[in-house]
Subunit: 372 residues, 2 copies
């Protein structure tokens, strides 16, 4: 059984328990879902139908691509259905001879007006579209990385750390001067080492722009690492999986406020790290950091961290919100990324990728605050 079949097996078991005959996944321009890659190896732009009798049908946009990448039982081109998801679902139910009256689950992100169209077009089935259904189940399964995924993250972390070292060296030596210099260096060095690209658009913000949580534009032809605080947030994508790290480059002279931002961010990072372990409640960790910043009358305008995987942001969330019920478990990989931002003094953020293990944690990446 290949890795994709092993993953699908867990879904089939869940379908049997939930008494669901057919499940549809959709990865299209309007609604992305990397779960299709997780379950089949096909990189994207497709529908996937799983039948409770353990059969997987892929309906891809690009049939040539699917023949190379998709580990499934059957493939039918999306063009055969005029690229209409509702027609494809009808055909899928027909293909699997899904019994009339049985439960068919569609993605919970299906817009309300389109949901109504599904219900109208598929009167022979009980159409489910719900929170807490198939997508929540897949999301939960994906939080715990399997052996194949841990192997990928091992390799990806080595590449990410090599690029971090090269970045520090080349900034110190004056070879990388502008925001674009750094961002394009990452793109090139990552691909040289077998990466598919970056996991998200690299954010490189010199001192004049580092106050933005997500600088806009993401990077420019302007200076980086001039006096003050510069933020570099990037992730490399390898075999579909992304790393996610943030370095702050610091050049003197600094104001007392800037020193304060740096010192608080480093302390918050260490505090959070000391709390991360198997069984820890994610929200408690985020809350501890919020309380810590609050003592200095500072406020972090974003979450403390998030899971990474086939997406740059996935479960579990590491944030202080009432609806966050995640508990850290072995096999989870999450970012830890405290940061503070000031419209005048600039911003700083320190972010690394942390693997939760049975006995503690492994810090996979070596991002840091770099004083030039």
């Amino acid at each position: 059984m290949n890795v994709y079949e092993t993953r699908r097996e867990k879904i089939y078991d869940w379908m049997a328990r939930e008494n669901i005959s057919l499940v549809m996944f959709e990865d299209t321009e309007d609604r992305r879902d990397t779960s299709i890659r997780w379950m089949t190896g096909h990189p994207g732009d497709a529908l996937l139908f799983l039948s409770v009798d353990k059969q997987a049908l892929l309906v891809p946009w690009d049939i040539n691509m699917a023949k190379i990448f998709a580990a499934v039982d059957a493939i039918i081109p999306y063009a055969d259905f005029d690229r209409h998801s509702i027609s494809a679902l009808k055909a899928g139910a027909n293909y699997f001879k899904t019994p009339f009256g049985s439960k068919v689950e569609i993605p919970p992100v299906t817009p309300y007006p389109i949901f109504l169209q599904y219900v109208e077009a598929l009167t022979d089935f009980d159409i489910l579209c719900r929170s807490g259904g198939i997508r929540a189940e897949v999301e939960k399964l994906r939080t715990i990385k399997d052996e194949e995924e841990l192997r990928i993250y091992q390799e990806l972390s080595v590449i990410t750390n090599t690029v971090i070292e090269l970045l520090e060296k080349n900034v110190r030596e004056g070879n990388l001067k502008t925001e674009a210099d750094l961002a394009l260096f990452i793109e090139a060095e990552g691909r040289k080492r077998g990466c598919e690209g970056t996991g998200f658009e690299t954010l490189a913000a010199g001192p004049g722009r580092s106050f933005g949580i997500h600088a806009f534009p993401a990077y420019t032809a302007g200076d980086f690492a001039t006096p003050g605080l510069s933020i570099l947030d990037f992730g490399l994508k390898y075999a579909g999986y992304t790393s996610d790290v943030t370095l702050t480059f610091v050049r003197e002279p600094l104001s007392r406020s800037q020193e304060k931002l740096l010192s608080l961010t480093e302390k918050a990072y260490k505090l959070a790290l000391s709390l991360m372990k198997n069984g820890a409640v994610a929200r408690d960790i985020a809350q501890a950091v919020d309380v810590f910043f609050d003592q200095s009358k500072k406020r972090m305008p974003h979450g403390l961290g998030h899971g990474i995987g086939l997406e740059a942001h996935e479960a579990p969330a590491l944030r202080n919100r009432a609806d966050n019920a995640w508990v850290l478990q072995p096999g989870m990989i999450v970012t830890l990324e405290p940061g503070l931002y000031d419209p005048v003094h600039g911003g700083c953020r320190l972010e690394n990728d942390i693997l939760i293990t049975e006995t503690g944690i492994t810090v996979l990446t070596n991002a840091k605050i770099i004083r030039l």
Copy 2:
């Protein structure tokens, strides 16, 4: 009245006609909507509330960014609502003193399960979530570029054409050899000329990978423009707006099948160009191309073109589908991009950006099939 106020004025008029008190727009990680930028100048990650009494309230994730970019009547940080859209909508209705019982429209992409939460939380209002509502209206308005947008596209086309020229020159001279060389060259040259970045991930596929409609990965460290057909599909993003062009680089020796793909693609391009004009039915043009390819037993596995603007793909569609009712009108800017793909011989595509005018068309970009 600034350009954003002028655009919002059209929405307010529509709201009055439709008897809608309050409209919500959402641009978040889960559901992107560049319309917020179109209506306020704020580049993203925000909610926008428009009240029929002509007031605009922005609820941004990044308050520092909003103070710089957003041309609105009021700003309240999203963090004040725990980054919950439903809490923010309640607060928005309260802020505007929206009358109980009146119509409040939310985005039609709202997932069915979340729609139910809105309805439950806002019992005092008539919550609309529909196709053909506000989003369709904004989409329609955005198809016709205004003076400011035409000015931006004028400048963007000049930059895009300069980069096309530089690409051809540097490939001919052997300075750009790999897929990554070309992609990173575009990123760097674009930003040097004031672009925010690229409008989408550049697709650079050498002869071994050009069979893919959208090559995967988008670009690699592998060779480009070796013998056979190589595809380069890119767009530059300037002041939010994207261009979208595709060049095919051809190096001999070629098989007869490859010559055939090229010749058919060029003929299809010319055929479509001859049909594009004010009043032309978009579907008819796409159908003519499908029929043309069909005569040679070929099939184009994607649409013939699409509108461009703040998104790389927006209305109007130039495709042969029963639900495509778009008619070309002055001020529309659409791509024209016939292409053919063969798993053995590779693919070719030719794509330019076309402005529809009162009296004909203007081909804004100079992409072509380049024989090396």
